[in-house]
Subunit: 361 residues, 2 copies
DNA sequence: CTGTTAGCGCCTTCAA
DNA sequence: TTGAAGGCGCTAACAG
């Protein structure tokens, strides 16, 4: 019911020709009632400091009384600018990004900027489509994930009339600005930590390792690191690398760990590409009665909050995601206001957070 | 570099008066080049079936060549409609909502509808502001969470010129449509399951239980259920209820469980208001060497994917979140196209998923 | 099926 | 500091 009533009511009400169909109040109404020019009302909203106090009061009063709010569409059309930041992330389910979003929100200071999300589903084509759509609306800026945009997309962003921040992955050659970390180095450090803790034969577990045939770039970099460091420590063994195209999850982690334990009993530790994988690996060990850290050491990636809660707690490579989102947003806002950004490429680094899962007794 | 170069370039390029400042191609350009009226081009995009095949071909060609895409702002202004659905969720970090979002996305069929998110931070005032802002843009529809909107907000949505779906919480009196579940009944069932499994003294753990002094409505309903059922089974004991204003998380679950075990040794089981709380509770038990399910039974809520992966696996009350998002979106789309919705209030129900954490041996 | 004519509501530009 | 005129790019409403 609710709505059938409603619709009928509206249709009926709109019948009369005189009153412009339940039209909302516009800037003209406000100007008339406040006895000022339209432009003054317009300025009242966009450049209040350029309006005299008296005018302000008069306008404010009418605005409140009429419940007026500027139309975003008209604004965008006339000014060729919208006051939102477009954010493209590859997944709404990978917890990695919820911290990034939190960071982005935490920086949403000062201005009345909106944030608009797009879910690219780990697909560069979708990413391009989303960005194209954002750009059509002349946003204040764009934050997008990774450094593997299609060349078309990169070109699009370069031409764009707004600032752009790439996040998650550090690159020397950003489209505009970047706040990320070096996944190769971070992985190296995580695995080195395993060796330093006395483990000899690390395995490598990863979810969402490829998309449409090609390897997910950040996973690919990490795998390179794994190859490199194992080669120098007794040899790289391909059978110790288990990955799947499925999205990263505890369940995937459990099943990868299960396979690894079955197939490679010589492995004494694992580097997990995401803490949810590590979590699943831990549970699999618990279920099998395999002691962590004594029989198997586990090092995760990203340092989810939960990794300090598990039993045993999980060692992880912290990727500073909150800070990343926050800094990206802050840089974007400052740059959009014309401020010079002295350092457009930021490598936020990482920390290996040692916890119980790699502390053999 | 990237951008400094760019900006200078742009500023310099815009100097000339003749060429309209790198202006994008418009519908007029397309019409001219294709030798058709503007309206035909317009129809080509909004009502293709009303354009003859020949015209279509001509237009398509030019559109591709010129790389034309309609301006959303101009469209919105002229038509008083935007092709997006506004989605308001209370949190980007509570995993509960990532499944809902997944469901919403999965239904994004047919049309080229965009989805626009707003994060209300569990704050009705923020929710209202977000909705107000969405409404200003004449969206196709709005999906919002819960049934505790401010009265002003409800009024706003009723007046709105678009369809509205409330999700998560079932109510007999929706603003327009609702897809939810009855949290009171679901909780009753979860706790009943504990009794049925042989536990006598359940505790009750909850995160994010209140906001600005008043209790979060869904938690409040669940607490009522707890009171009701414990009263009938040996008596309600207030000290068995532990909650906090902090966002729900495994860490919060761990700390609540720790308190509960310290303060109420007589408790033999817990009903956790979210699976992350249950997860934390489980870890705390493991750390203390308290056997789950033999010494303590655990029943969670929402049935996260991880609950079937833990050791022991976690019993949980499944809230069908994916389906909820999907159905909500589908109903919204159908309703927006004028279709009559026979059942505007849907109670999706719940399932108590029994797993190891409540199976005493 | 196609085209014409008027705006949509606001901001840019320029003049006062 | 304020205001007047014009147009942003598109679609509604009507005509052909």
């Amino acid at each position: 019911m609710g709505k059938s009533t409603k619709i009928i009511g509206k249709a009926a009400g709109g019948r009369e020709g005189a009153s412009p169909r339940k039209r909302g109040v516009t800037i003209v109404d406000v100007a008339r009632e406040a006895n000022v020019g339209r432009m003054t009302v317009s300025r009242y909203f966009s450049e209040p400091h350029r309006v005299s106090p008296e005018m302000k009061k008069r306008i404010e009063k009418v605005v409140k009384r009429l419940g007026y709010a500027p139309s975003p569409a008209a604004r965008a059309l006339a000014s060729k600018r919208s006051n939102f930041v477009g954010v493209v992330i590859p997944s709404v389910t990978n917890f990695v990004f919820s911290d990034v979003l939190k960071g982005i929100y935490s920086a949403e200071l000062s201005n009345d900027h909106q944030i608009q999300f797009g879910n690219a589903h780990y697909n560069p084509r979708e990413e391009e489509a989303l960005i194209r759509n954002f750009l059509l609306q002349n946003p204040t800026g764009i934050i997008t994930t990774g450094a593997d945009q299609t060349t078309e997309c990169r070109e699009l962003l370069r031409q764009a009339n707004c600032r752009v921040v790439q996040i998650m992955e550090y690159t020397e050659d950003p489209i505009d600005m970047v706040v990320g970390l070096d996944h190769y180095q971070a992985t190296l450090a995580g695995i080195q930590h395993l060796y330093d803790s006395g483990y000899k034969k690390p395995g490598f577990l990863a979810g969402r390792s490829f998309h449409g045939g090609s390897m997910e770039p950040r996973i690919s970099q990490r795998l390179e690191a794994f190859k490199h460091i194992t080669s120098k420590n007794g040899g790289f063994d391909e059978s110790h690398v288990l990955h799947t195209g499925e999205p990263s999850s505890a369940n995937v982690g459990r099943s990868l760990m299960s396979d690894l334990l079955d197939r490679c009993p010589e492995v004494d530790s694992v580097f997990c590409n995401n803490d949810d994988i590590a979590l699943g690996a831990l549970f699999e060990c618990q279920r099998r009665g395999v002691n962590v850290p004594n029989e198997i050491g586990i090092c995760g990636f990203n340092d989810f909050e939960i990794s300090s809660v598990t039993f045993p707690t999980l060692t992880s490579v912290c990727s500073n995601r909150f800070k990343m989102g926050k800094l990206a947003m802050e840089m974007l806002m400052r740059a959009s206001e014309g401020e010079e950004i002295e350092q457009p490429s930021v490598d936020l680094g990482f920390q290996v957070v040692e916890r119980e899962s790699t502390q053999r007794k």
